[in-house]
Structure formats: C-alpha cells, structure tokens
Symmetry: C2
C-alpha cells in the first residue's frame, strides 16, 4: 500500500527534478487536490503514461499549447512556436521522465511496475476519461505564469473481464 | 519474439470474439496495414490500453461518434444518441476486453504483461502521437457500413531515461 501523501511527495520531487535538471526551469508546487474526472482540454496537450504490474494506473501531464512549445524549446533547444510533431514528442518525453522516475520511487512500496509507451494528444477541444478510476490526485505547478498539471491514479490491478466463462482463446485462434 | 502475422491473427480473433459474444455484432476483417503514425480523429472516439512488462506497447481502438454510441447501446442495452460518459466508458470497456484477451494470447510468447487502465478521448478534431513507436499494425473492421479500427504496437521494453547519472531519488525525497 502507499499513502496519498507519499504519492504527492514523490510526484512533486520527480517533477521538480525533471524540470530543473532536464529543462532548466524552476517550478512552484500549487495545492494538490483530488478529482473524480480525467481532464478536459481546450487548445492544449495531454501526455499519458500507463503503469502496470501488481498495481495499475496512469500519469497524465496537461498544459497549454504555448507551454508545450516552451517545454520542447527547453528540452531540445529548438524554436517551435506552434505545436508540431517535435513538440508532441518532447511533451511525451517529459511525461516519460517524470512518470518513469515516479515509478522507480513507488516500486519500493508496490513492487515492480512496467511503463506503457507515452501517448500524446493535441486538440482544441477534447475530453478524456479513464476507466475504473474513482479518484485522480491532481498536482498543479506554476512556471512563469503558466500552469502545468500532473495527474496520477494508482490502484491494485484487476484482471480484465474474460470474454466468457471458460474462454479458451487457443482453440479459437489455433484450431 | 512474436511475428507480425501472429499479432494480426490474435488481434482479429480477440476482436471478433468480443464483438460476437459481448456486443452481438458480426464484424468483417479488412486488409491490415502498417502505419508510422498514431491516429488523427475528426469527430470520433479513441480508446487506449497500454501493455507493459518485458515488452511494452499499446492497443488503440478508434471509431466514429455514431459507432461509439452503437457499441454502448449493444453492450449496455442503453439508447445513447450522442457521446456521453456512459458511451466513453463502454468504448473503454470494449477496448479493455479486446486488448485484455489479446494480452493473454501474446503472453504465451512474450511472458507476463500488465495492462494499464483504459483511457478514452473524445473530440471533434485531435491528433495523437505515441513515443518510440516506429510502426503500428492497423486492423480495420467493417460492421454495418461503419469502420472500427484497431491499432497495436509492441516492442521490447526500454527503461526510461534516468534524470541524471547516479540519480538517487531517495536522498531528494526523504532527506
């Protein structure tokens, strides 16, 4: 088991470290809160990294399109002014580093976890929703007047529903 | 290792089984292809399920808003006519079952894999991008004149980049 307080502490440490070490940006932690819903975005970028093992969950970074460009420019010393593939990859890489470090920290409590590949979504108006999640821990950070938000959910893994009782896939596939 | 042909075969079997058993819908497999890019959607729904372990990857289902409602109505015997939370949860659950069954099949080749929680995105115009993925296997299925597409990528896991050499998170967090 892991306390919510510990998740908050680890996520803050991991985020601050990635920002200062990899991006050369100082961030300030705002008050954390919990939210029943996954984020809805208008003109922004969302990067997801899944965690799976004995526990399962997701880490999600969301920020404005402008701040996504800034992250890219800091990480790659580029000069992006609008969201392009390089910007999306940079935000995904930042998410991968933050959630990857966080994962290493929580593994001491929860045992080995794998990371899924980061997925980045960009659009002007979209909704996200994650299944089986009752509660997200939401950590806003401010950086030069912008807000970047990190969300995390983690719960003991449940096996997915079998298609039917006694479902024997090998007979379907290999027969 | 696992052959692309085997991934295609397993994904088709898993999808057809979930559609016929859980949704009461018959689907027809269209020709598969590979794509360098993750899907871009205009007015549709995307559901992701991450896979993580010795291998890492993602399964993604995409369909139109109208077909998402149909999936929901078939799964839950509801009468949704526009995309609401119930519809998003239903598409996520369908993704979870398809990728979950697929995971069970590929585990015979690749060893144990965990599933991340399904994440569903809905919007009128958005782009997705997945990091470190050179190639998606894309499987279109037709069902009553609609196309539902399932994409899959799988590759041996790489550990995420450490924030810095010799990075010792415990001293940062617990000091």
């Amino acid at each position: 088991m892991i306390a919510e307080k510990t998740i908050v502490e680890y996520m803050r440490a991991s985020t601050a470290d990635v920002f200062s070490t990899m991006l050369g940006l100082e961030i300030a932690s705002e008050q954390e809160y919990t939210d029943q819903n996954a984020p809805t975005v208008s003109d922004g970028v969302l990067a997801f990294v899944g965690m799976a093992g004995g526990w399962t969950g997701s880490g999600v970074i969301s920020c404005s399109a402008a701040f996504a460009c800034r992250l890219c420019n800091q990480l790659l010393m580029s000069e992006a002014t609008s969201v392009n593939e390089e910007v999306l990859d940079a935000v995904g890489e930042v998410a991968n580093m933050i959630i990857g470090n966080f994962k290493t920290m929580v593994e001491e409590h929860l045992g080995p976890l794998g990371l899924s590949i980061p997925t980045v979504i960009y659009g002007r108006n979209f909704t996200s929703r994650s299944l089986g999640t009752n509660s997200w821990i939401v950590l806003p950070f401010s950086c030069d007047g912008e807000i970047i938000t990190i969300r995390c959910c983690l719960a003991p893994a449940k096996e997915p529903l079998a298609v039917r009782a006694g479902y024997a896939h090998t007979s379907t596939v290999l027969a």
